[in-house]
């Protein structure tokens, strides 16, 4: 494997690879075990780097307020009323979401025929720290069920895998509509997911 391929892998990992190149690389990933291993290593490295970030930034409140005020996305109240039924994401969200919509199109268009229909959540979507209940903030008392979880033995499924389960479940739950849009809120939650390993099914 040459350096050019490695650079492309790194760019793909960061979401910065052009769509044509990404299409080619994803197709090659399906058939090249060595390339696949390198791809996984890049994500392990990225996971490790991201885990060095603090769980809760001290200026969280300021970030929230700044996010609300500085968010360049036009709100529903500010956008023009569209008359057509088929309004698309670009008309609706605008701003940064336009780029997101483009990314959707690019992502979908780069799927080769016969290739998988979906991409798994990649990289570290959230830091999933293995902790015991003693590490939790005292303001939140845990149920008896939760207390019995505090058995940390060995490796869990990876953080990104666990987070993928949580995120897909939240998004899927929102599709049911039975709790309104609230499950979508949970799909956007970043941290933490508390992971524990059970010695046996009885231990959990």
């Amino acid at each position: 494997m040459n350096d050019s391929i490695r650079e492309q892998l790194s760019a793909l990992s960061d979401g910065e690879l052009a769509s044509d190149s990404a299409r080619f690389l994803l197709k090659r990933l399906d058939h090249d075990p060595e390339l696949g291993e390198t791809w996984e290593r890049y994500h392990v490295i990225r996971d490790c780097l991201r885990r060095q970030q603090s769980l809760a930034p001290p200026d969280f409140s300021a970030q929230v307020m700044a996010g609300i005020e500085a968010d360049g996305l036009p709100g529903l109240a500010r956008r023009k009323v569209a008359t057509g039924r088929g309004r698309n994401l670009m008309n609706w969200l605008g701003g940064g979401a336009v780029a997101a919509a483009v990314a959707v199109v690019a992502l979908l268009s780069l799927r080769p025929i016969g290739a998988p229909e979906t991409l798994a959540p990649q990289g570290s979507l959230a830091s999933v720290e293995t902790v015991t209940t003693a590490d939790l903030a005292p303001a939140w008392r845990l149920s008896p069920v939760s207390d019995r979880q505090a058995i940390v033995v060995s490796a869990l499924p990876s953080q990104s895998e666990l987070d993928g389960y949580f995120m897909q479940h939240a998004e899927g739950s929102a599709s049911s509509g039975q709790m309104g849009v609230l499950p979508y809120v949970q799909s956007g939650a970043a941290k933490p997911v508390i992971g524990v390993e059970c010695e046996s099914s009885q231990a959990c």
């Binding site: 996305l73 039924r85 949580f166």
Partner: protein, 296 residues
């Protein structure tokens, strides 16, 4: 209700929805659930909600427009600034500007009705409150068995939309809370986003035989071909559970568990398959689900 109406009657009910007269229609807790499911199909929602869990708070900015071409953006305003985008039948996850995941959305499906909820929970209105400046009705749903959590739900008195909820364990200790801090709603109909007619509920079957906990029903499934993963969605009308079956050989077998707020996860790694159950129910409910489907 609406989907069974003749087309000529729908504008009438729609007008009622827009007039915001749900209070008169919702005589009890179950009625609020029924009205909410209708209301959210007609209302665009913009706002910020906080998700308190495990001693932490996430603030999520919400833009959501229902309809057959459902659109939505759900962005975390702090931390890693992840956001989930919904555009029609596609879902996209971004973090700090980079796309990190994508998958197809579930096809539209009908969930359990309120009458079914009434068999499993004692649902009643317990008071009034104010959320994000809106008058709210508070409804408590207490399960009749140990398979479920207690839920307390805030409904907008005017629109019937859900404004927040708290999930409590069997000892009435809070596990998580989601609540709007600011919210603005408007009619999706006014902007041309007509609601999709939901087909009559039919008895659905999963592509594989599943043993379900009492009171739960299978409602939808999807396949992630990239991960060789099947996701089956189950509900009792309030609680939602996903069970994943993933082709994932592993040299080490065993069980694992995880949790975020009221959402528990229980998994079993076998030699060739990994089973994972996840949902806002007690962990033993998930463990039984795994044991009855994955085997020892």
């Amino acid at each position: 209700m609406l989907n069974r109406m003749p087309n000529r009657c729908r504008p009438v009910l729609t007008a009622l929805v827009l007039a915001g007269t749900f209070e008169a229609m919702a005589a009890d807790g179950l009625s609020w659930l029924r009205q909410m499911q209708q209301a959210q199909r007609y209302s665009t929602v913009e706002g910020v909600a906080v998700y308190a869990h495990d001693g932490r708070i996430d603030a999520i900015r919400i833009l959501h427009q229902p309809g057959p071409d459902e659109q939505g953006q759900f962005a975390n305003l702090g931390g890693d600034r992840r956001q989930l985008l919904r555009s029609g039948d596609q879902v996209l996850v971004q973090m700090e500007g980079a796309t990190v995941g994508a998958w197809p959305a579930f096809a539209r499906f009908e969930s359990a009705d309120a009458d079914h909820v009434g068999k499993l929970y004692d649902v009643r209105e317990i008071g009034k409150d104010k959320v994000a400046g809106l008058e709210a009705v508070v409804v408590l749903a207490e399960p009749r068995d140990e398979l479920r959590f207690v839920q307390q739900i805030w409904f907008d008195r005017a629109s019937g939309l859900i404004l927040g909820n708290v999930v409590l364990d069997q000892r009435r200790q809070p596990l998580e809370q989601v609540m709007f801090t600011t919210v603005r709603t408007s009619s999706a109909l006014a902007s041309g986003a007509l609601p999709e007619a939901i087909p009559e509920r039919a008895t659905q079957a999963s592509s594989i035989a599943l043993n379900l906990p009492a009171g739960f029903m299978f409602v939808a499934e999807r396949r992630d071909n990239y991960r060789h993963l099947d996701q089956f969605l189950l509900t009792d009308g309030l609680a939602l559970v996903s069970i994943y079956r993933e082709a994932r050989p592993a040299p080490t077998q065993g069980d694992f568990a995880s949790r975020r707020g009221a959402v528990n996860l229980y998994g079993r790694q076998g030699a060739d398959l990994r089973w994972v159950a996840i949902g806002n129910v007690p962990l033993p409910t998930l463990r039984e689900l795994i044991e009855s489907n994955a085997g020892p």
